[in-house]
């Protein structure tokens, strides 16, 4: 079902954990669908005064494909300028992994979205211009979240009705 590349990244993921001194985070996914990805980036100026992703890491709750795509997107973005990183697509992530099962393609989209969101948040925080392509993707991600919340409303209402305190992360859904 999974390629050997996927399994390698799943067995020995790269750049895992939380960055101590990150410039921005991209948080995507939703606990109700079982995939949550947090991507941390540290942006620095290089010798040519360009913004580069000097360091990158991630924390992911998800399946084999979600973990492998997190690992792969972090490899692809590391050391890249923000411009180059913005150009990384979910197809790039899936391709580098030797492909993903069709039902798991959304995991590669999640990874690309997490990178996109981290860069978007960085530029917004810095009050810098956000390229159109980045803004459009950000708006799409927000729309996806709203759609999921709507789709899983019944589930979420049930969760909130429960007496037990919500598990970590569940509050994001409310």
């Amino acid at each position: 079902m999974y390629t050997e590349r996927v399994m390698e990244h799943f067995r020995h993921p790269h750049n895992m954990g939380k960055l101590a001194d990150y410039s921005a985070i991209g948080k995507v996914g939703n606990i109700v669908c079982g995939d949550v990805m947090w991507l941390y980036i540290r942006v620095e100026k290089d010798a040519q005064d360009r913004d580069v992703i000097a360091d990158i890491s991630w924390e992911t709750f998800g399946c084999t494909a979600a973990i492998a795509t997190s690992s792969m997107v972090s490899d692809l973005a590391r050391g890249k300028t923000l411009e180059e990183a913005i150009a990384i697509t979910n197809q790039d992530v899936a391709h580098e992994l030797g492909g993903l099962p069709p039902v798991k393609m959304h995991c590669s989209a999640l990874a690309a979205d997490a990178l996109n969101e981290a860069i978007y948040n960085y530029l917004s925080d810095q009050k810098r211009d956000v390229p159109d392509v980045l803004r459009r993707r950000h708006e799409r991600v927000e729309k996806d979240v709203a759609a999921l919340d709507k789709r899983y409303k019944a589930f979420l209402d049930r969760e909130q009705a429960k007496e037990s305190p919500p598990a970590p992360g569940e509050s994001r859904c409310s």
């Binding site: 999974y2 799943f10 067995r11 993921p13 895992m16 954990g17 948080k27 606990i31 109700v32 669908c33 079982g34 995939d35 949550v36 990805m37 947090w38 924390e59 992911t60 709750f61 998800g62 399946c63 084999t64 494909a65 979600a66 973990i67 039902v103 798991k104 589930f155 049930r158 969760e159 429960k162 037990s164 919500p166 598990a167 970590p168 992360g169 569940e170």
Partner: protein, 385 residues
């Protein structure tokens, strides 16, 4: 790589050597069609009827009350759709539960999209159906109640004797999916009208199941053809499969005391072992359960990656996580018993078989805490902070 450990016996089981040996002659020596007049046919017929009688004896039903099918999915479909079609008209009401196997649930759903009505009763936090809820759900036009004997996902046992009796008092047919319970617990067949079972869950072959159809139960066939199985299920009998089913049943009956006691002790050890890992829960009833199934949830991690990491260590298990299902929805059973979604995604089903050893359980309990810790290190949701 150490020897592989198979702890997914509620998915399927290895065919027992005794079963395989019993089946073998019926592939290429006594290979006749059980409907043929000649000696080859008579041999096959004899094997089928002897097998039927053995299984009937085990279930305390009459041999003619057993209908062999291609598996339990067909048996469940036959029970539910066949009961509906036997009414000779569209309409009427079925009662079932929210934790049924999909073979039952989707058959009931199909009926509701074809002019029938259905009520699915809720279960408690351990997954138990309350017979009072069944009673309350019955309508004047209820013609069938279908409740699983023991849950295939969480193992919880249902009060099917009680539900069967209350159905009988009202003249309503009662079906139970006994796929996981068959051969492991005493089944109250005297209170049941229709019962599904499958050979491959019990160290028999895949591709053969049965439906017990008690006398006077109205059932329309779903397979039409040569009138096999007393007209209730046409199609040439799967002679080796049926022989294997009977051999597996005999073996299970002989070994039951010993095997079930072992399974119970394994289950208790699993529950104790997993409880020592922080942020875990047992899904299902701690004791009122099938002996071979234990289902747990692990906070902060996702079940598919848990299964895959265990697989990397050569240990086979399964999960009810959304990521493992084609529709990306978490297990309906875990949702029905109120497992929070974060925990429903992190579920792990461990199921033992007659071949499971104490060393297998040791291996799992050695590897599992490490795998859980490693996956939690990757997760944004920290446990115990």
């Amino acid at each position: 790589m150490p020897e592989r450990v198979y702890l997914d016996n509620s998915a399927t089981t290895p065919v027992a050597p005794e079963v395989l040996a019993a089946m073998r002659p019926y592939f290429n020596s006594a290979y006749g069609n059980a409907s043929s007049l000649h000696e080859f046919g008579r041999e096959a017929r004899h094997a089928v009827e002897e097998s039927r009688a053995a299984i009937a004896l085990h279930l305390r039903v009459l041999p003619e009350e057993i209908v062999f099918t291609s598996g339990a999915t067909e048996a469940d479909n036959l029970a539910i759709l066949g009961s509906a079609y036997a009414r000779g008209r569209t309409g009427g009401h079925v009662v079932s539960s929210t934790i049924e196997h999909h073979a039952v649930l989707h058959s009931v759903e199909w009926l509701t999209s074809h002019g029938f009505a259905a009520t699915l009763v809720d279960v408690d936090a351990a997954g138990r159906v309350d017979p009072d809820h069944i009673r309350a759900a019955l309508r004047k036009d209820t013609f069938l109640v279908s409740i699983i004997a023991g849950s295939n996902e969480i193992g919880t046992l249902e009060p099917i004797a009680e539900i069967g009796s209350l159905c009988r008092e009202r003249g309503i047919a009662f079906h139970t999916d006994a796929v996981q319970a068959f051969g492991k617990i005493d089944l109250p067949t005297e209170s049941v009208d229709l019962l599904s079972a499958s050979a491959h869950k019990l160290h028999g072959p895949k591709g053969v199941g049965l439906l017990v159809v008690r006398k006077k139960t109205r059932l329309s066939p779903m397979m039409h053809g040569g009138g096999h199985e007393r007209g209730r299920r046409s199609g040439t009998e799967n002679v080796p499969g049926i022989v294997g089913f009977a051999a597996a049943t005999r073996l299970a009956a002989q070994e039951r005391g010993e095997v079930v006691a072992r399974m119970r002790s394994f289950r208790a050890r699993l529950i104790e072992g997993v409880a020592s890992i922080p942020g875990t829960r047992l899904n299902g009833h701690p004791t009122d359960s099938l002996p071979h199934i234990a289902n747990f949830s692990f906070q902060g991690i996702e079940g598919e990656s848990l299964v895959m990491r265990l697989d990397e260590h050569g240990i086979a298990t399964s999960t009810g996580s959304a990521c493992s299902s084609p529709d990306l929805e978490p297990s309906h059973v875990l949702v029905a018993i109120g497992v929070p979604l974060s925990m429903a995604h992190g579920s792990l089903r461990i199921s033992t078989g007659r071949q499971t050893t104490s060393a297998d359980i040791d291996r799992l309990l050695d590897v599992l805490p490490r795998v859980v810790r490693d996956l939690r290190a990757l997760s944004p949701f920290k446990v115990g902070e």
